[in-house]
């Protein structure tokens, strides 16, 4: 009797403590999520505001007078600068990602084959580059003098084409494929490349998609190669154009101008935020579909990125 009473009381106290804890958890998560969301809503809100309101009342999440003038300016009145940059970014992202997948896929597959005698040596050659590097300046000199990266699209594509981290992730996936699946193909006369292309690749589509998306994100968000190697404005990727517009809003104008808009005043503040939204737009639209691949990628060893 006494015993049940005591446990009964304890479980009440216990559950009260637990529900307090649960409430704290919900509160903390909600707070942090709000902190993550607010800046994005702010940028979005300002991009749909009218420049005069922003100049009078400052930045705010809710537009006083909803308008799409900013986007009209960006896409119709600022010249071809933005579409040029969009094309550059899409081109480098697509070409770079496909190339990176092929380059990374091939070496990961080769290193996952246990019969390859020098695979540990090759893995070390790869690994060593993550723990020791020559630093920015020698790299920069090689890129400009030897590889001719100045004002070349190669500068935006080649440096991001092979990541040792992603190679090791992909190798783990390939290594999990049972070798017996390869043996039958070998009997049919397929070479290693045939096995890679027709058996290993289709079996690892999720892994390839995950790593492809990670490469694509890196290409999309890259501005640092442009900062180092690109001066010609028509070769600016989107991120680097945004960087230039943030420090000097006039950078948005240029390229082929549509007739009759030469005198349109730049809505300086809303354009900065509108261009930010334009830059991250595709990521926002794709986010619901791609999020899970990144989560998988992180869980399966991108820990070490």
């Amino acid at each position: 009797m006494q015993l049940t009473k005591r446990t009964g009381r304890r479980s009440i106290r216990h559950s009260r403590g637990d529900s307090l804890f649960k409430a704290l958890c919900v509160g903390f998560v909600a707070f942090f999520a709000a902190v993550c969301l607010y800046p994005l809503l702010l940028v979005l809100g300002v991009s749909f505001s009218n420049e005069t309101d922003v100049l009078r009342y400052g930045y705010s999440v809710i537009p006083r007078n909803f308008t799409t003038d900013t986007y009209r300016y960006i896409f119709l009145q600022s010249g071809s600068r933005i579409t040029d940059s969009y094309v550059i970014t899409i081109f480098t992202t697509v070409v770079g990602t496909l190339g990176a997948l092929l380059v990374t896929g091939m070496i990961s597959f080769a290193l996952s084959i246990k019969q390859l005698r020098y695979r540990n040596l090759i893995a070390f050659v790869c690994n060593f580059t993550i723990i020791f590097s020559a630093g920015l300046i020698p790299w920069y000199i090689v890129c400009t003098r030897l590889l001719g990266f100045n004002n070349s699209l190669n500068a935006l594509i080649v440096p991001g084409m092979f990541s040792v981290w992603y190679m090791f992730m992909l190798r783990t996936f390939f290594a999990d494929i049972p070798p017996s699946l390869y043996e039958s193909a070998t009997l049919d006369g397929a070479g290693y490349f045939g096995i890679f292309w027709r058996i290993a690749t289709p079996l690892s589509t999720t892994a390839l998609l995950t790593i492809g998306l990670m490469y694509a994100l890196n290409y999309w968000n890259n501005w640092w190669n442009a900062l180092l190697f690109i001066d010609r404005k028509e070769l600016f990727p989107l991120q680097y154009l945004l960087y230039n517009v943030l420090s000097n809003v006039n950078a948005i104008r240029g390229g082929r101008m549509p007739p009759g808009v030469g005198s349109v005043r730049i809505p300086a503040e809303t354009v900065k935020m509108g261009l930010t939204i334009v830059t991250i737009g595709p990521i926002i639209l794709l986010y619901p579909f791609i999020q899970k691949y990144f989560v998988n990628g992180i869980m399966s060893g991108a820990v070490k990125e």
Binding site: Y57, Q115, N222
Partner: protein, 317 residues
């Protein structure tokens, strides 16, 4: 399997084993070539350029024809008050990043783990992960929206509270803190996924047993969850320690850029090398980069050895 050459095999036979292996797996080695060529061009050939650190590099004399000056470039670094300041900035920003990079992701992971599966959890988690997808330039745009003097949100709040607005972009002393906060903002959701992954492997029986024994939530977290998360936290921390002399170029340049007033407060070794490569010369900046790489190598190798000792032989890479 073909027979391995015996230990006492003569050099010519070994060489033929090498040739045999190359022939046998020609396709596989060819498949490694594109990646290896990229590494050769972008990682291995630059090692030759390290020689510049010991010379007074002149464009006309070339890398190997310039005057040899021994360790003079390194000496210049240690007598330059600015340079040491940037080392300090790098260490301070990284140390805070490391500490808050433990506190926030772990508490978020614990809190998320308490929530039932459902819309709230899915949406909040998605929102917290999103900043990871943004470039530092976009974060720079957000920082402008928050902190510009005339129109920024922070000063609007100050005005509505009746306080004097602050010219944030002219007050460098605040920006180390801002950068550290933006870093937490960008990475917490990402890192919390790593801890959630670790938590999904916990043995539920342990927690049920603790509950039966009368341990409340706090006790279970303190005595079970945190100790079980320790290996993951140790690995991540050691990785950050290995990189403590590397500043986040993208973060500093994307948010602060070339602002000369804030610069001295937030510039890290990497941005210092970038901004001074023309003004102070390639030799000097190569020397700075070389010191950074050597320190990084020592720390990473040390951290790896430590990780192996702590995590039963499981290293960082």
């Amino acid at each position: 399997m073909h027979s391995e050459p015996t230990r006492g095999a003569l050099p010519p036979r070994r060489k033929s084993a090498f040739v045999r292996e190359m022939r046998r797996h020609k396709t596989l080695y060819l498949m490694c070539m594109p990646a290896l060529l990229l590494l050769l061009a972008l990682s291995y050939i630059p090692f030759g350029g390290l020689w510049m650190a010991f010379t007074n590099y002149k464009l006309l004399d070339g890398i190997f024809g310039s005057e040899f000056v021994g360790l003079n470039n390194f000496r210049l670094f240690f007598i330059s008050p600015n340079a040491l300041r940037y080392v300090g900035n790098t260490l301070i920003i990284n140390a805070w990043g490391l500490l808050l990079g433990l506190v926030f992701p772990i508490s978020l992971a614990i809190a998320l783990n308490e929530l039932r599966r459902g819309v709230f959890k899915r949406i909040t988690q998605g929102v917290m992960f999103f900043p990871y997808f943004l470039s530092w330039i976009v974060v720079g745009a957000i920082s402008w929206a928050l902190f510009n003097t005339e129109l920024g949100v922070v000063n609007s709040i100050y005005r509505s509270l009746g306080w004097e607005p602050v010219r944030w972009l002219a007050r460098g002393e605040y920006w180390k803190g801002f950068l550290i906060s933006f870093n937490v903002w960008k990475w917490s959701g990402y890192s919390s996924i790593i801890y959630l992954a670790a938590m999904s492997n916990f043995d539920p029986n342990l927690f049920q047993a603790a509950e039966v024994d009368g341990a409340n939530k706090w006790q279970r977290i303190y005595h079970l969850t945190l100790p079980l998360l320790k290996p993951t936290a140790v690995v991540l921390t050691l990785l950050s320690v290995g990189r403590i002399f590397y500043g986040d170029f993208g973060m500093v340049w994307g948010i602060v850029g070339s602002n000369p007033v804030i610069g001295p407060y937030v510039h890290v070794i990497d941005t210092y090398v970038f901004t001074s490569m023309r003004s102070l010369g390639f030799s000097y900046t190569t020397a700075v980069g070389l010191m950074q790489s050597v320190l990084g190598l020592i720390l990473v190798v040390g951290a790896n050895a430590l990780a192996k000792r702590i995590n039963d032989g499981e290293g960082l890479f």
